[in-house]
């Protein structure tokens, strides 16, 4: 009985040692992986930070005002003024679609206009 216990204990020690060895290396791999991920996130964060700074720089009010001035012909942008506010009542109702003409009536003036057309 005692011998069996000794053998069992020795086997347990070997097993646990093997498990601890494996765990140790798994942990080290995980830590290395985390470190890699951290540096990756850090780099991404730096990139993001740079992009945010660039975005803010390109959207600075001075530059936008200058661009609005430069492209006034095309865009016609003005500072927001009180007149820009409207009321719901100022919006027209949608124009009903024109029904297709199924029965056209020929008018003498139509041909007349065509003849007089200098082009």
């Amino acid at each position: 009985m005692r011998g069996f216990l000794y053998v069992f204990a020795a086997l347990a020690v070997i097993g646990l040692a093997f498990w601890a060895y494996q765990e140790n290396y798994t942990t080290q791999t995980a830590v290395r992986e985390v470190r890699g991920l951290y540096s990756e996130i850090g780099a991404a964060h730096d990139r993001l930070q740079m992009l945010r700074a660039e975005w803010a720089y390109l959207n600075r009010p001075d530059r936008l005002a200058d661009l609005a001035d430069l492209n006034f012909d095309r865009l016609g942008l003005l500072p927001l003024r009180p007149e820009a506010f409207g009321q719901v009542g100022q919006i027209i109702y949608p124009i009903p679609p024109i029904l297709p003409i199924t029965d056209p009536i020929e008018l003498s003036s139509d041909t007349l206009a065509l003849e007089e057309d200098p082009l």
Binding site: V31, Y38, L80, P82, Q87
Partner: protein
């Protein structure tokens, strides 16, 4: 094998000889004791040895660990680190909508190890070609001298870095740096302040705030426990930009040497925009002026640090207090015969407004004499208490490092004549920010307001200063001043602007009276009058409007049009809808069922 105590052979032999056999027993017993003692001692020695060995090992391990810790480079325990170990930078500053006001940029510094240089002369020439501020001869002297280490640049652009790379000298080295960047340039420069490098090393440098909120919140911005959470201010970027743009234009038009504007939410005390001109670029903050007047430096924040006698804008406080005390009401007639003589002093009005005027007209026409007469009824003690409640007697609590330097200048002896002059804004100097907070208290229903640069979404009403009824009549008097009084140019269609003008002569810097042709003109506006939301204080320093035949300096001609334009531009940005009279919609009957 165990020896018996009384071995039979020896006992028998002893008995034969007639000896005492007990002696044999005693002898054997003593021997056995000695043997047991020897055994115990050797076991104890063994144990001691083992214990000593264990202690020795433990000490060796601890000592060895201490040695390795002391000699190795410190390393963060990554696996056990809590929180986010990546964001170690100084936190960003954003406006109330989250738009960036200040951030960091990764860049590199340049330093040299002259001993490692192969060709110092060529390196010096090429460096001088890249960086215009460097001098080839001085660099060469440094490179060939005794020095082992030399800083060359704090920060540089990627293009410059590539050019330095291309020199290919092994003695030129780069160190990573974090650079504070203000992407909007001079926008809100006085609020942000600026930053500089603190302790510098090869591999890193600390960035510390110099002025403004950067300095005030330095600890917060550098605290890694925030995990990069930005500092949010109550400033609105687009409103601030519009304010600064209009103010700069107004300052140029009115030939003023300085200008400031403060736009504040009257309920929460949040500062939505605060501009002070001339301003500077915090990316390259100018040096502090060592000579001349500090208040002429672009670094000087007129809104917070500039304490001026602000003139007639103070009249509203006198009238409000008199009405709160029940001394007058809006229609009480006041003697306004000009001049009013008090001892050896004479108080005059801008022009004679007739022998009597109602309290409303005293405000609308801005009568010094009328206000002074009301102030006599109030008395010095009560006036001082009231102005104290409005926060006009101590520095503002705004979150800027400069705030304590903007402490008001009070008369040494608050005499009766001081009471009279203070009632119309002379003899007491305060900053435009003080005035903004005091006006906010006048028109928000009558509770005191603390100006703040931090968002305050759930404002708690401060201590009551005046009743709601008095506050309402203050708003209507301010509105009357714009519609029919001194601030007629301040009306902005749709926004029901109310306000009070103030034109104060500038006191001579050396003391002794006032300049005849230098004024501080101020317009304190509130809008919209039907439901007050914001106050706007606009102050111009030494303005003069020269479109007429003679130069005009009064606030009604200078500060008021500028303020009106600021309101016209900013009110839509603040989301205020203009109250336009569109007429009733035709053919629509509103019903409910």
């Amino acid at each position: 094998m165990r020896t018996p105590l009384r071995p039979l052979a020896r006992i028998l032999k002893a008995r034969e000889k007639g000896e005492n056999p007990d002696v044999i027993e005693a002898e054997n017993r003593a021997r056995r004791h000695a043997a047991e003692q020897d055994k115990a001692r050797s076991r104890a020695e063994g144990r001691l040895l083992l214990l000593g060995l264990m202690f020795f090992c433990a000490f060796i391990v601890i000592g060895g660990r201490m040695g390795t810790l002391a000699s190795s480079v410190p390393e963060e325990p990554r696996a056990a680190a809590e929180g986010n170990p990546i964001i170690g930078q100084r936190a960003d500053i954003v406006d109330r909508n989250g738009r960036l006001l200040a951030t960091n940029l990764d860049t590199f510094s340049l330093y040299a190890h002259p001993r490692q240089m192969v060709d110092p002369a060529r390196t010096a020439t090429q460096l001088a070609a890249i960086f215009p501020e460097m001098d080839a001869d001085r660099l060469l002297a440094d490179f060939t001298g005794e020095r082992r280490f030399l800083w060359l640049r704090r920060q540089m652009s990627p293009e410059q870095m590539q050019a330095v790379h291309d020199i290919g000298s092994p003695g030129l080295l780069f160190g990573p740096r974090e650079m504070r960047l203000y992407p909007n340039g001079s926008l809100a420069a006085h609020i942000l302040g600026g930053a500089r490098y603190g302790r510098e090393g090869v591999s890193s440098a600390e960035v510390i705030g110099v002025a403004g909120v950067e300095r005030q919140f330095d600890t917060f911005l550098r605290d890694p426990a925030n995990e990069g959470a930005p500092l949010q201010l109550s400033i609105d970027l687009s409103v601030q930009a519009a304010t600064e743009q209009v103010l700069a234009g107004g300052m140029a038009l009115m030939n003023a040497k300085g200008a400031t504007a403060v736009l504040m939410d009257i309920h929460s005390g949040e500062i939505i925009a605060m501009a002070s001109l001339p301003d500077f670029d915090p990316n390259s903050r100018p040096q502090v002026a060592t000579t001349g007047d500090q208040s002429d430096s672009p670094l000087f924040n007129r809104a917070v640090q500039g304490v001026y006698e602000l003139g007639s804008v103070f009249k509203l406080f006198t009238i409000a207090q008199a009405m709160e005390l029940g001394l007058v009401n809006a229609n009480t007639m006041i003697d306004t015969t000009s001049p009013l003589t008090w001892g050896r002093f004479r108080i005059r009005d801008f022009r004679n407004y007739g022998p009597q005027n109602s309290v409303t007209n005293v405000i609308v026409k801005s009568s010094n004499v009328g206000t002074a007469r009301i102030a006599i009824q109030i008395g010095a003690e009560r006036q001082r208490d009231f102005l104290g409640q409005l926060g006009l007697l101590r520095a503002t609590s705004v979150e800027m490092i400069e705030a304590p330097t903007g402490a008001p200048l009070l008369p040494r002896n608050w005499s009766e004549i001081s009471t009279m002059t203070i009632s119309y804004g002379h003899g007491l100097s305060s900053s435009p920010l003080h005035l903004a907070a005091a006006y906010a208290a006048m028109v928000n229903g009558g509770t005191a307001v603390q100006p703040t640069l931090l968002p305050n979404p759930n404002p708690q009403p401060g201590p009551r200063v005046i009743s709601e009824a008095v506050s309402r009549s203050m708003v209507s008097m301010l509105r009357d001043t714009v519609t029919e009084g001194t601030a007629s140019m301040g009306d902005v269609a749709g926004y029901e602007v109310g306000g009070k003008t103030g034109t104060a002569d500038k006191p001579r810097a050396a003391g002794g009276g006032y300049y005849p042709d230098k004024v501080i003109s101020t317009f304190a506006a509130v809008f919209p009058a039907s439901d007050p939301q914001y106050v706007l204080i606009t102050t111009l320093d030494e303005p003069v409007e020269t479109s007429g035949t003679e130069p005009r300096r009064t606030a009604g001609w200078t500060a008021v049009p500028v303020a009106a334009e600021i309101i016209r531009r900013t009110a839509p940005l603040l989301g205020l809808r203009p109250q336009m009279d569109m007429g009733e919609p035709v053919g629509v009957t509103l019903t409910s069922n």
